[in-house]
Assembly symmetry: D2
Homo-oligomer: 358 residues x 4
C-alpha cells in the first residue's frame, strides 16, 4: 500500500516528480461552500518558491497553481479539487552524472533498492519539489480554518548556532515576515551570515522551525492512536529533511518533575484555561483550547559541493561532488510547508470531530 | 472517524477501559502460517505489568492474555486474531472524588469536553492501561519479524538528570535486562535513587527511551507521507506521556553542517553500508539496511500526590491531591510498549513492501 | 490487506470462528451519548439464533452478547465498543471427516488454497456463524438510526417457487413477524411446505429477501465510488450465500424505456417527492428521501445430505455426504442479518454526511 | 469522508466534471516495473468515447489521455501515476435552462440537496463523463493483469427485449467486437433496430452487460467483508445507471435446490476444477480458479426528449423537455467501463493476496 495520501476526511493525494511534467494533487473531502481566495493560495506557493531571495536556490519556477475541478464560481462544490503546478526550469542534464552514483544521505540508494526502476532526474519523487503540492492543499485547509478563526503560524527559530532565545508567543505573528522568516531581527541577521558563509564554503545548515496553532477549539484529536500531536508529528516527520518533532515541553519534559511540568487549570473569562502550557495545547491527544505549539528539527541539506566518498549502482566505491542549484539552508522555505502540514492536520481533525457526539 | 486502529496491512484495533471488563484488541492482516510462542507473548506483557517491582505502581494485575480467534493448533490462520486481558484489581472507588474535578495535565478535561459522556474511573480509555493491548499485538509482530531475523530493542537512556552517555550500540542487548531496563549499571543505580526520592516526595519523573531495530532490510517505508520514520514517530507519539521523537541525529542535526552530517556510503562484505549513521537507518523515508535508531521523550506522570490548583466540571476553581496507585516514573514499564509500537510499524511496512514491485 | 472491517466512520471489525472460543467484534466510531437498549440488541440476536424454530438447524446457541467496553452507565462513550458472543454447542467431532475433503460449493477449497493453514471445524471463519457479530453491531446502528426516525425492515419475499406477488410497501411492517418472516400468510405457508419437503429430502432451498429503509433523509451516499446503493450492494453481497443484489427496479430496468422508468418529481406537503420509485430511493448514488428498496438473492445452502462427487486435499476424486446440523433454508434467519448490514451502511453514511458542507 | 477513491492497494482517486477543465485521476500503488503500452490504453478510451458510432451521442471528445507522473522511460516507477483527459466539446450553454429544474431520475436534486453548491453544467461530477478516468486507470490494471495471464472481457448481452440466449462462454471473445459489442450477430441487429427506434422516439433503453474474468488464480478475495464478488458488486453498482448485479447463478439461484446448484469438484490435468460454475468462479468470497462471471443491469438513460413533470429549485411544479446530446442506449459504451472496474478489483486483490501467507 503506497503512501501518497494524507488525512482521513480532508484527504490529500499528491503526485509528481522534480523533472517530469509537473506536480500536483487531489484534495478529496473539502466541504462544499468554501469561498476560495486564489491569490492567497498563490501567496503561499510564493513563500515556498525557489529563487525568491538571494538565500535560496536560483532554480526559477513560477509555481503557478492551476485548479482543474471541484470549484464552481469560486466556491468548493464538495467534489475532489485537483490542481497542477507545471515544472518549468528543470535542467535534467545537470543530473546525468548522478544517474549511477548514490549521493550520501540522499534518497538515491533507498529508492533504487525499493523500486528497481527510478526517475533519477533531480531526485524524481524524492525531491522536495513534491512539497509544492502540500503547500497548495494546505492553503485550502488554511482558508477552511479561517472560517473557524483558527490560524497557523511558523517561524525559523534556529539555524545552526543562531537561535531565538524567547518563546514564539512573544512575537506579533501578524506582522510581515522577513526573508529569513525569523521574527527576531538580530537572530535573523546572524542566520543570514551563517547561511552566506555556508554557501561560500559549499556547505549546508540545519535548523529548527517552531509552529503555533491559535484558536483551535477544545476537542480535536482522536485517541488512542490518532492523538492530535501524533498526527502532527507524522505530518512534520514526512517533510523532507526533518529529523525530530516536539510538542509543548518536548524533550525538555524528560528532565522535569511532575510538580513542575503539570499545567494547572484556571478559569479566565468563563473559559477553562491552563496557567502554563507545557502540554503544548494537547492533553491526552486532544486539543485543550490553548495554543498548540511544536518544534521541528531539520537536518542540513545533503547536497553539498565538496567531494564525498560513496558507492555507485554496481557496488563500487567512488567519489562525488554535487553540482546543481541547491539551497544552503532550507529553513526559510520550509516555513510554509510546516504551516501547510499543520493546517491539513487541524482541518482534518476539525471534520473528524464532527462525528464524535450524537 | 475514530482513532482506535493502527497500521494498514498488519492492523491493530484496540478497545477497553481501565476499570471496565478488560482491555484487548483485534490484529487483522497477520499472515497465515506464523507459529506463535505464547509464553514469549506473555513475557512481553509481564515486562509491562504493574507491580512487577518496587519501583512501579502496586496495582496488581496478572495481565494474562487470552486469544479468542485466528489461531489453530498454535499457528495463525490469516483470520483476525482477537485477544482479551481481563481487568482484575480495579478499585473504582478510589476515583469517586475525581469524577467532577479535572486533574492538571491529565486527559480528564479534554475527554469530558470532546465526548460529553465519560467513564471517569481510572481515566477510562485515557489510562495507560490501554497500552497492554499494544504490547500483546506487538509481541505477535515481533515474532513475525523474528522469522525475518529482525529484532527490536529499547532501553531507558535517561531518567530526569541521570543519562547514559554512550550510544545504544555499545551495549549487548541480548543480555537480560535489569529492573530499570537501563543497560548501564551506574546510570541505572542513579535512576533508582532518583525514582525512590521522587516517590517519597509524592512527585514524578520524566525520561528518554532509546529504541533500535536491527536487521531491517533495505526498502521499508512508503514515501511521501508514510515515510518509515514518520510512521514510527506517530507510533511513539501516540503512547501516553510522550512529548518528543527523534530519528538518527534528531534535534542535534539542527546544529550541524551537511559536510559533517552526511553518511558516506561504503561497501562492506559486498553490501552497501554507510560509515556513520546520522540518518538513523532511514533515508528519504525508506530503510537503508543500517540500524534504525530513535529516541522518545516522556514527560513525568501527571498524577502527583501534592496539592494542585484546578477547576471542576462546573467551571469553578478548586484544589486537588491525587491519591491512588501511580508510578513515580513510567520509563521502565514503557520500554516494552515502545518496542511493541516499533514492531507493529516494521511488520506493517514489511508487508506493505511486498507490493512495491511487479 | 485483510477484509474483516466494514464501514468508514461507524466501523465494525469482527473476529471469530464457528468452533473456537466465540465470535465478536469492535464497533469504532459510534458517537458518544447513545443510550443503548440491551434487550433490543439481544432480541435481534434471537431473531438470527439457530434452533429458534422447527425450520432451522437444531444447533443450540444461546447467543448472549457480552459488551466489554465503550459503554458507561448504559450510554456510549465514543470509545470502541467491543462485544463477545461465546460459542457453546459446537460438536467439532462432527467435522473430523471433513478435514481433508472439499465440500462442493463450500469455502473449504478456496480457504485452504488461500491461507495454507485452516481451521476446518465447522468451516471456521467461513461459517455463517460469523454473521452474529454483524447482527450485534447492526443492532447498535439501528438504535442510532432510531434517534433519527430511520427504520430498516426486511422480509422473506421468496423461497424457491413460493413468491410474494405484491410490493413490500403493501405490508404493515410494524406488525409481529411470523416464523418465516414473510408477511403474506398464504405465501408463508407455501414456503413452510417447501422447506419441510426439502429437509425431508436432505436438500436445501434458495430465496430472496426484500429490504426497505424508511425515513432516510435526502443526501446520504458519497459519489462517485461510494454511492449509497454501491455500499449497500457490497454489504449484502458480503453475506454468506448471497448471489445477487438489486436496487429499486433492478434487473427489470434492463427491459424498460426511459419514459417509463423515470420517476417524475412532485411536491407533497412542501416536500419534493417522486411519484414512482424505480430509483429505489437513490439517485446519482445519493438518497432522495423516498423509501430505499433493495432485493437480495440467496443460493440454497451448500451443505446437503445426499452424496456428491468431490476432490480431497491430495487432489484425488472421492465422494461426500454431509452430516451435521444444517438449515434447509437460511432465508428466515438471514432477515436480521440483511437488516443489520443495511443499518450499518445507513448509520455510516449518516455520519459521513455530517462533513459534506461547511 | 468523501468517496472518490477506489481500491486499497492498487488505488484510484478521480476528479473532474463534465464541463470543467477536464477529468482525470491518480493511481497510487501500481507496482514499479510495469512496461506500459500507451496505445492500448488509448484504445480502451476510444472504446468508451462519445461519437464513435451512429448509435452514440454526437458529443465529440478526442479523449486523449496525458500522463503526468509515475512513469519513466515507459515503465512505472512505483510512484503515483497521474493522468488528465481534457474536456473539449462542452456546450455549457445547452444546460443553462437546466440550472434550476430537476431532471427526473437524474442526480440534480440529490446533489443540490447534499452539497448546496453545485456545478449544474452537464451534470457536473454526476455526469458519466467521470467514467473516462475509470477506463484510463482500468487500462493500466489490465496491463498488470496481462503479465499474470489474466484477461477481462465484457459484452452487451441484452438491450431491452433483445437478449443473447447462449452463455458468454460460447463466444470467442478474442475476435474483434462489433459496434454493439454483442458477439451474437442476430441479437446485435435486433439491438440496433431497438436503439434506432428509441432514438427516433426521443426515448432510451436499458440492458445487461455480462463480464467474464479468465485466468484468475485461486485465492483472490478477502473474507469476510471484502469478498471478491462483494467488491466486484460495489465496483459495478458505482457505475452510473447500474441497478443490479449478479455473480454466477445470481437471482436464478433463489429458485434452485442445493442438489442442483452445488458445483461438484473434479480433477482435470492435475488441477482441481468444478464441473459446473454456478458459483461464478468464487466460493466463500475467494476465487476458485474457474471463470469469474457476472451480470450487470443498466437502467435506461434518464435524459429523454419527451416532456416530463418535475419540480424546480424553489419547490414549484413545472415540466421539462431535455435537449442536448444524449445516448439512446449506453450499453455499448459501458462495456469498457465494466471491464475497467473488473480489472481494478482483480488487480487490487492480486496485490492484497500477496500478504496473506507468511
Amino acid at each position: 500500500m503506497a503512501g501518497n495520501s494524507f488525512g482521513t476526511i480532508f484527504r490529500l493525494t499528491t503526485f509528481g516528480e522534480s523533472h517530469g511534467a509537473g506536480v500536483g494533487g487531489i484534495v478529496d473531502g473539502c466541504p462544499a461552500g468554501l469561498k476560495l481566495d486564489f491569490e492567497a493560495i498563490q501567496r503561499e506557493l510564493d513563500r515556498r518558491r525557489p529563487g525568491q531571495s538571494a538565500l535560496t536556490t536560483p532554480r526559477d519556477e513560477s509555481d503557478r497553481v492551476e485548479f482543474l475541478s471541484g470549484i464552481f464560481e469560486g466556491v468548493t462544490t464538495g467534489s475532489p479539487i485537483a490542481f497542477l503546478i507545471a515544472n518549468k526550469d528543470h535542467r535534467s542534464k545537470d543530473y546525468d552524472d548522478l544517474k549511477n552514483v548514490f549521493r550520501p544521505s540522499h534518497a538515491d540508494f533507498t529508492w533504487q533498492s525499493k523500486y528497481g526502476h527510478r526517475d533519477h532526474r533531480g531526485s524524481g519523487r524524492a525531491s522536495a519539489r513534491e512539497t509544492v503540492s502540500r503547500v497548495a492543499a494546505g492553503a485550502i485547509a488554511k482558508q477552511l480554518l479561517q472560517t473557524l478563526a483558527i490560524s497557523v503560524h511558523a517561524i525559523v527559530s534556529s539555524v545552526a548556532e543562531a537561535s531565538i532565545a524567547v518563546p514564539i508567543t512573544s512575537f506579533d505573528l501578524s506582522q510581515p515576515e522577513n526573508e529569513l522568516r525569523c521574527p527576531h531581527p538580530e537572530t535573523a541577521e546572524q542566520m543570514r551570515s551563517l547561511i552566506e558563509e555556508a554557501r561560500s564554503q559549499g556547505d549546508t545548515l540545519g535548523g529548527i522551525i517552531t509552529c503555533i496553532v491559535k484558536g483551535a477549539p477544545v476537542g480535536l484529536g482522536e485517541p488512542v492512536f490518532d492523538k492530535l500531536h501524533a498526527e502532527l508529528g507524522k505530518a512534520m516527520l514526512s517533510i523532507n529533511a526533518v529529523k525530530g518533532f516536539e510538542i509543548g515541553s518536548g524533550f525538555a519534559a524528560a528532565g522535569m518533575r511532575g510538580s513542575k511540568h503539570n499545567d494547572e487549570f484556571a478559569v479566565s473569562e468563563g473559559k477553562t484555561i491552563t496557567k502554563t502550557n507545557h502540554s503544548g495545547g494537547i492533553q491526552g491527544g486532544i486539543s485543550n483550547g490553548m495554543d498548540i505549539e511544536m518544534r521541528i528539527a531539520f537536518k542540513p541539506v545533503s547536497s553539498i559541493a565538496t567531494a564525498q566518498n560513496t558507492v555507485d549502482i554496481s557496488g563500487d566505491a567512488t567519489t562525488i561532488s554535487i553540482q546543481g542549484r541547491h539551497d544552503p539552508c532550507v529553513l526559510p522555505r520550509a516555513v510554509p510547508i510546516v504551516e501547510a502540514m499543520a493546517a491539513l492536520v487541524i482541518a482534518d481533525h476539525y471534520l473528524r470531530q464532527r462525528t464524535s457526539e450524537l
